[in-house]
């Protein structure tokens, strides 16, 4: 390694993305259900507890689309286009009974997350385990934003901050993929000119440091904005789905916030899909 590279690395490492606070706003949420009048209203109340439509925030107009309003995905998308919402609140297994087996979000929700540009707040199905819905009805205290690359993702953190109430806890979680890391380390182990042990330590330290530094800047901004929110960090290597499930359970999370779109990717981001399917007992905000 030349000294030019050494100093360039020092300066690149010092160049850190800073969290930019741009308050996420939900002015016109749309509640999308396949339920009829009373059940649909009660689901609207549940989603209102998350979005603030219950009165805690300024939500101008919460619209509700009921089961009788649409019969196909196309009709559903047309209705959404007409409403122009900035958030859609729905639940897994919309217009489907797939929620009974927990292996899918259901075709409506899967299409929604990819074709509609606004975030989708996905609850467990209202007819699923009563305790899950009861917990959701208690409101949102602990929010977890999770990703495998947190540094620079201000949109994710801003969205998670919006759903974290005063005196609530925001868990910022960056879980680097252990399998990918090990794959690269195996390749490095076979290159004689690279000190394998030093490379393992340095690469791991650097990828974890980037996320930690970003969380530090999030904390600084939250303090500066006087937001009464506690930020807790989890930055580690892990086996994604299993570890995210473990972390969500251990932190008693009320809402998981995650990205679902990758640039140029037509289907849902691989990890997001796995998580959305697996974490079927927690409300999810899919960005």
């Amino acid at each position: 390694m030349t000294r030019i590279d050494q100093f360039e690395s020092v300066f690149k490492s010092a160049d850190k993305p800073l969290f930019r606070y741009e308050p996420f706003s939900v002015g016109t949420p749309l509640v999308l259900t396949d339920l009829d009048d009373e059940a649909a209203e009660s689901f609207a109340v549940l989603s209102g507890k998350y979005t603030g439509a219950g009165g805690s925030r300024e939500v101008s107009d919460q619209r509700v689309i009921k089961g009788a309003d649409f019969a196909t995905i196309e009709e559903c998308l047309d209705l959404i286009a007409g409403e122009k919402p900035d958030l859609i609140c729905t639940y897994r297994g919309l217009h489907s009974d797939c929620w009974r087996w927990g292996q899918s979000l259901g075709s409506y929700v899967e299409v929604l997350t990819q074709t509609v540009k606004v975030p989708v707040l996905v609850f467990p199905h209202p007819a699923s385990a009563a305790e899950t819905i009861a917990a959701a009805e208690a409101g949102c205290r602990h929010v977890m934003a999770m990703t495998d690359h947190l540094a620079g993702d201000s949109r994710l953190v801003n969205a998670a901050l919006f759903f974290t109430p005063a005196q609530g806890t925001l868990h910022l979680t960056n879980l680097e993929d252990q399998q990918v890391f090990e794959r690269y380390m195996e390749a490095i182990d076979k290159i004689p000119s690279i000190d394998s042990a030093a490379a393992r330590d340095s690469v791991l330290a650097q990828i974890l440091k980037e996320a930690r530094d970003y969380i530090k800047s999030c904390r600084a901004v939250v303090e500066e904005q006087a937001l009464d929110v506690e930020i807790q960090e989890t930055v580690e290597l892990g086996l994604h789905v299993a570890d995210y499930k473990r972390l969500a359970a251990a932190r008693d999370v009320d809402l998981l916030v995650m990205n679902t779109r990758d640039s140029g990717q037509l289907a849902m981001h691989g990890l997001a899909y796995e998580l959305a399917v697996e974490l079927n007992d927690i409300p999810l905000l899919l960005l």
């Binding site: 100093f7 300066f11 010092a14 850190k16």
Partner: protein, 462 residues
Amino acid sequence: MSFYLGWISEAHPAVPAWVTLLFVSILTAMILCLAFEEKLHAKKSVIAGLFAILCLLLGAVFGLLPFGPISVGGHEINLPVYIPAIDWGVIAIILGSSLFVDVTSRTGLFTWIAIRLTKASGGDPLKLLVFYGLMTVVFSAVLNNVTAMIIVGSLSGVSLKKLQQEDKLLGFLLVEGLLTNIGGLLTLVSSVPNIIVGNAAGIAFIDFFLKSSAYVLVATIVTIALGSRLFGIHRLSSDEEREQARELVAGFDENDGIESRFFFWFGAMMTGLFILTIASTSVLPYIRDLGMGFVALSFAGIMLVRYKAVADKFYEAIDWDLLGFFAALFVVINVMEHALVLQLIGTGLSTIIDAPSDIAAAGLLAVSAIFSSVTDNIPLAAMLAKILQAREHVPEQLWWSVIFGANLGGNLTPIGSASTLVAVTIIHKYKIKLSFAGFIRKALPYALVHIALAIIYVLLFF
């Protein structure tokens, strides 16, 4: 030439003229090889080392070398003939100061300064050019010009990319490369030609600084102003642009490279103390006898205590090629001295040196600059220092002509100095096209201004 050879043969009948000519051709071949080291894919130390072996062998064959014991402090000791040929004082200064700078850079001090200045500029291109320019000069003076170019050049690449001003990178790197050779004139230890010529001329550190600083100041201002004009580096025009740039540079964390606060402040204190001690070496009792090499090595040793368990990593990072090159070069020059080559060149140069003083000073400065632009300025400085040392009553003007010429010649071509070569390496790293001729075309206005200013300065103030 035949007149000079005849004169030398008469004065030194032991060395036949054809032998002197043979060594002249060897010296010319070495200088050419050093000029084309990139083409030869050979390191300087290997080139100079092979020529040193050849010179020693031929020197022994022709009976030119003074074999036998040498006297050190009244004691006769046996040393191989090539050992006393090397100027160990110079080697000690270079080894000690490069080790000291390398360890001190681990404290995060230099990167801290560099990032603080970047943030202070608010990301404004013109302010950045001024700050980076000044930083290049100061780092070149305090550290060495290669390290200065590496630090400031790599930061320029990273920060201009972040500011989406990559189109200005060529201008920044070129101006910084040229300023390393201006900063290299500021102190006695800022560049190797200064150390060699300054030691030979007996110029003290403070004296050197006082006499060169006015020139460095003027040349720096002129270079930055010219750089801003020729490369179109101006201030940001709107408040929105300024705000955006400020936000972008705010992401730099100057504390990122600092492993330990204590070591950071210790490094800062030691750097200050190092400069102070080097500056006052000639007046400090005991220290003046031990010399600047001792000071540099001692400071490096103290700094290494922090990394005592991994000190070998720093030894690995020492530029052994440069040190090997110096050692071999001193041997070659020593043999050349015995073969009367230096005397021949000195006689040849006497046309310039013995001219009226102003013409001599201007001529020597211009000749030194031209020669050091096409080959390494270190052999040139070493050779001219030896030639001047051999003469009686050398005016101060001439020593300074060699110093200015040897340093500033590096700005004429990309191979003229190690730091401009580093600048070109960074330029190519960022995939900016710049040929050898392209560099000369862009650098020529600056180099001519530098040399013209230096001639005026030497004529007016010495």
